[in-house]
Amino acid sequence: MATPTTFWRLAGMSYVQYVTRASSAVRNAAKEPAKSKLAANSKFSYNASVWEGGVQGKKVEIDVLSKAGI
């Protein structure tokens, strides 16, 4: 029996991935000047590092969800 859930969950996506994709679809369909104004909203980046034994590891820049493991 199929699990009662959404197609994106079944494909292994999280809600964050789903709503980020839906937001990009909306931005891609906008007219100018709204489209240029909203384009920057798709971008994000931060540095992540793993701490082990009280020592900070190498910083890695995360600018796509896949690099964050989400």
Partner: protein, 137 residues
């Protein structure tokens, strides 16, 4: 009722007095006026309609998703990751993005993330098409 409507990058309404909002809930569209029962709803990609006091036609936004919380004191908080006014939607972009997504869907492996992404693009573009009067299938 009081409306707070926020996006991550912009506050559209803060403590605005409106007469009604029609919310695109994931489980169905519903209207909120003053004294509505408290309610938390996940939103689907669809049209949010804001009826201002003393105004005729509602102001319409297409929202990508998000959440709406209606509180016992007639305050409604709506938070969306992205929203555009219906007037800012490009109908030719919606049609062509829908067709690209449909092609990507049929050529992707069943149950794959790529197919799910194409399906999201199809569903959001189809909903935008419906909102602006296109019939995409």
């Amino acid at each position: 009722m009081t409306l707070n409507f926020n996006l991550p990058h912009e506050t559209i309404y803060s403590e605005a007095k409106v007469s009604q909002v029609i919310v695109p809930g994931a489980a169905g569209e519903y209207g909120v006026t003053a004294d509505h029962v408290p309610l938390v709803a996940q939103l689907k990609a669809g049209v949010l309609q804001i009826f201002h006091e003393d105004a005729g036609e509602p102001e319409k936004y297409f929202v990508a998703g998000g959440f709406s919380l209606t509180h016992a004191n007639s305050v409604t908080d709506i938070s969306c990751p992205e929203a555009v006014k219906l007037d800012d939607i490009d109908s030719s972009a919606v049609s062509s993005n829908f067709e690209s997504a449909k092609n990507a869907y049929t050529s992707a492996e069943d149950g794959s993330a790529a197919q799910a992404e194409a399906q999201i693009d199809m569903e959001v573009n189809r909903a935008m098409g419906t909102a602006i009067g296109l019939n995409l299938n």
